[in-house]
Subunit: 344 residues, 2 copies
Amino acid sequence: MNPPIPLRRRVRTSAVTLKDVAERAGVAPITVSRAINSPDSVSPSLRALIDVAVAELGYVPNRFAGALASAESRIIPVIVPSLSNAVFIEVIEGIQAILEAEGYQLLLGNTQYDLERETALVSTLLGWSPAGIIVAGLRHAERTRALLRGCGRPVVEIMELGTRPIDMNVGLSHSRAGTMMGEHLIARGYRRIGFVGGWLDGDYRAMQRFRGLDRALAAAGLERRPPFTFAGGSSPEIGGDQLLAVMAQAPELDALFFANDDLAVGALLRAAHAGIAVPGRIAIAGFNGLGISALTRPSLTTIVSPRCLIGETAARKLLARVAGTSSGPDRVDVGCHLAIREST
Amino acid sequence: MNPPIPLRRRVRTSAVTLKDVAERAGVAPITVSRAINSPDSVSPSLRALIDVAVAELGYVPNRFAGALASAESRIIPVIVPSLSNAVFIEVIEGIQAILEAEGYQLLLGNTQYDLERETALVSTLLGWSPAGIIVAGLRHAERTRALLRGCGRPVVEIMELGTRPIDMNVGLSHSRAGTMMGEHLIARGYRRIGFVGGWLDGDYRAMQRFRGLDRALAAAGLERRPPFTFAGGSSPEIGGDQLLAVMAQAPELDALFFANDDLAVGALLRAAHAGIAVPGRIAIAGFNGLGISALTRPSLTTIVSPRCLIGETAARKLLARVAGTSSGPDRVDVGCHLAIREST
DNA sequence: CTGAAAGCGCTTACAG
DNA sequence: CTGAAAGCGCTTACAG
């Protein structure tokens, strides 16, 4: 007699399954599941048996089966506009530190400052049944907003602070940061102050910093100028080029507020090369408070944003919501502070 | 009569399922599945119907169900030792650019230069049935190696190049890079050359660069010194501190090769502050070729590694393996080149 | 505290 | 080219 031939053969996802462990331990699969997910609901004696079986077999739970059955996964997508900017890296590190300790996995999405890509990413990432989602910014396509509103999962919008977040919101006011820097420059005696940033349509948080500066200039009765913009991203190289370009175009300026430290540090380095005295001929300021900003010569006046804290706070609030515990108000202003240094 | 009461109510993972689309389009669910995953296997007329239904209902496939059924997911974990180092960010960007275009998701793991954390990460991440896995470095715990060998999925080890990779290997020879820099410094006339790097037990690629330098010194019959090490990571701040510390300890040195550009740039900035002439009093060199290295004053001599290319190549080779197509040899040397600038 | 049954939403393996 | 059935490996919802 031939043994019965199985009609269907399937690929096995994992070598060892819950069933294998259950057989080894002499219990039902569901008991193994409980021993792993809520140990307290299983008697100590069975739990011990099961723990041994798990260890002996080297059992690793299949995340897909678990997620499919429970309709929730320990995945948390984090959507940022860029990785080139060190700011988002630090936010991501802050998030990861918290998530990993709780057994959650971070799924990285990069929109490259493109709101349509953001929609596509959100749509795809929701297919992973995430426990929640963290997304940079408050500005989204209508469809993105609808997806996030309708997904029934906690959402944290980070970096900036607004009045109508989708759900939770952790960040700082970029226009207030701009005003803060404007007031500093004015107090220092600068009177012809310009703003330099690339591609402000995409990086609208930089645009808000410009608006904040503009408000300070208006309040002081000083001349207001449109921002000096250019196509492209932010790097020290570009910052250096822009310093020279802007000074050629508007030689009357006595201070420049760059959209971020990457640009401002480049401007400082280029000024040194070109023999432009900072702040004697022109003052230079940045935004972010990257480590390097304190080390240049002259050191850079900038606004320090608590990136790591943003990430940690966002992750904590998300996990608290998932767990059903309270984590205080849904809107957290992490603030920022002015670091006054030699360049202004 | 009451309608029959369903005995079990379950959470629905996604609002719209394959079945919903199938009903709307008047076909079987499997046909919808085919229309989405291998459109060519469905007749154009049905495909059109299905496309409409998908769009109308806003269907997003449940990744977990798909992964569970097929025992493969479009997930590719990438395990790096650090995110603070810009080098790994650029590698990750390179990987992501390729993966995203093919509909794969990157799952980020950060070992923080801890091989036990690496083992735990690999174990967890394999629970996601990844299509393959990319991991930085060739040095792993025995258990990590066993997990990767036994997982039956393509593995790419990146950054450095070795003779016994687990599977595929994309990187460069760090000892050769060290030798290259050593030969450059010797050719420039420097004779008392030191190496500075933090925590070389963990960052053993930096250690390999030291060994390469040491080999060049030996070949030239010059005095060899143990590396100047310290506890802690790499940042411009630390680089500046170390410059002063090493010069106090070994004032006879006429050139310093720093383990990376983060340290070296900090050393250059600190030298400027402290009035130490570079390269007159002491030459300074780095490794990586970060953008900022070309902008300091003096600009930094360094070795440029093709980070983005490493990421792209690793991702391409992994996907080729998944697809069963060829992508050339399993071991790719991406090389590196010396950028000779003002600091040496 | 423990378990048998049903089901999560897909894809595989056949069959036509 | 299309489909009915079975199954992927878990968890939920009951029942005891």
